[in-house]
Amino acid sequence: MSGGHPDRRWIWKSPFPVWLALCVLLGATGTIAWLPLGIGNMLVSTAIGMIKAILIALFFMHLVRAKGTLWLAGLAGLLFLFTMFLLTFGDYTTRPNWWHPAPVPPGQSNLEFPEHALHP
């Protein structure tokens, strides 16, 4: 490997727009977080976080030019993560009063099914 190289413009050409986009997205998510959007705040900030992660994976980690097998290795983790979320929230969201659980009397658990659901 030799010393200096005159053509540095090409080295900066690909990562710089990605870094700029990441900074713009950071500014956007930091600003939107202060707007009263209710649950929209969480959705927007998570979506922007995911877009930033995808930009880093595609361009900084070079997934955009990677072979299919590398995509498979990366997506396998995401697939199992998705399955983990799906199974967990599939369980929790089908429990009674999941979103606003009623106060639980001492000695009881709100994770138990009500009697009428078990013996209709």
Binding site: M1, S2, G3, G4, H5, D7, R8, W10, I11, W12, S14, P15, F16, V18, W19, L22, C23, L26, T29, G30, A33, W34, L35, P36, L37, N41, M42, S45, T46, I48, G49, M50, K52, A53, I56, A57, F59, F60, M61, H62, A66, K67, T69, L70, A73, G74, A76, G77, L78, F80, L81, M84, F85, T88, F89, Y92, W98, W99, P101
Partner: protein
């Protein structure tokens, strides 16, 4: 063939071996994703059950330090991406400079994190008897905050060692044959640390700002 002589310089420069190295790293990154994924899942479930308490607790996390560290880490990822690009065009001076920049930003992240932790400790934001809020769910938020940001900082510290080693190799007059692979695989690990942080930022530092 003995075990010691199995991996040689020649085998590293083989395209097949190089692909295997990248593939192995991506498999490792997938396991890291699942490692943090379990914690993200715990956060999502607890927040869905304690929405108001998490919003209240989130106001105590430092927006300034969190945003500053996000900028620092994204810039460090940019720097190591420049190092990989410079290596592809055999510009070793720029490789060395970009690796030093990556290390500086990495240490900068840890310094800011230290300042943030100091502030949190002074405010007694550690789950336990001295925790300021009476809401147990707010303590759950900070339990996850300490575990997840602490594990991330641990990964970043390991990353500093990995990038530091690449920088030491890059300073040699004669670079080893497999240098490009060492740099690329190390950069992949560094980018993963960035990916995890950009997902930690909204769930800890942007929560409850508008309420």
């Amino acid at each position: 063939m003995s075990g010691a002589s199995f991996i040689t310089k020649e085998s590293w420069s083989d395209p097949e071996q190089e692909f295997r190295a990248s593939f192995g790293m991506w498999v490792f990154l997938s396991t890291e994703l699942l490692f943090f994924g379990g914690l993200f899942l715990a956060y999502a479930e607890l927040r869905s059950q304690n929405y108001e308490a998490f919003a209240e607790a989130g106001k105590h996390a430092s927006f300034f330090y969190g945003t500053l560290n996000t900028f620092i880490l994204m810039t460090s990822s940019f720097a190591i991406a420049i190092a990989v690009g410079a290596q592809e065009r055999t510009d070793i001076k720029l490789v060395r400079f970009a690796l030093v920049a990556t290390l500086v930003f990495g240490f900068g992240f840890l310094i800011v994190k230290g300042l943030e932790y100091h502030e949190d400790i002074e405010e007694h934001l550690i789950p336990g008897a001295e925790f300021p809020s009476g809401m147990p769910a707010a303590q759950m938020f900070f339990a996850l905050y300490w575990v997840m940001t602490g594990l991330h900082a641990l990964h970043l510290t390991v990353g500093l060692g990995v990038v530091g080693r690449v920088w030491l190799i890059a300073r040699r007059a004669e670079l080893p044959e497999n240098f490009h692979r060492t740099l690329e695989v190390s950069a992949l690990y560094w980018h993963l640390i960035d990916v995890i942080w950009v997902m930690l930022y909204p769930i800890f530092y942007l929560v409850g700002r508008s309420t």
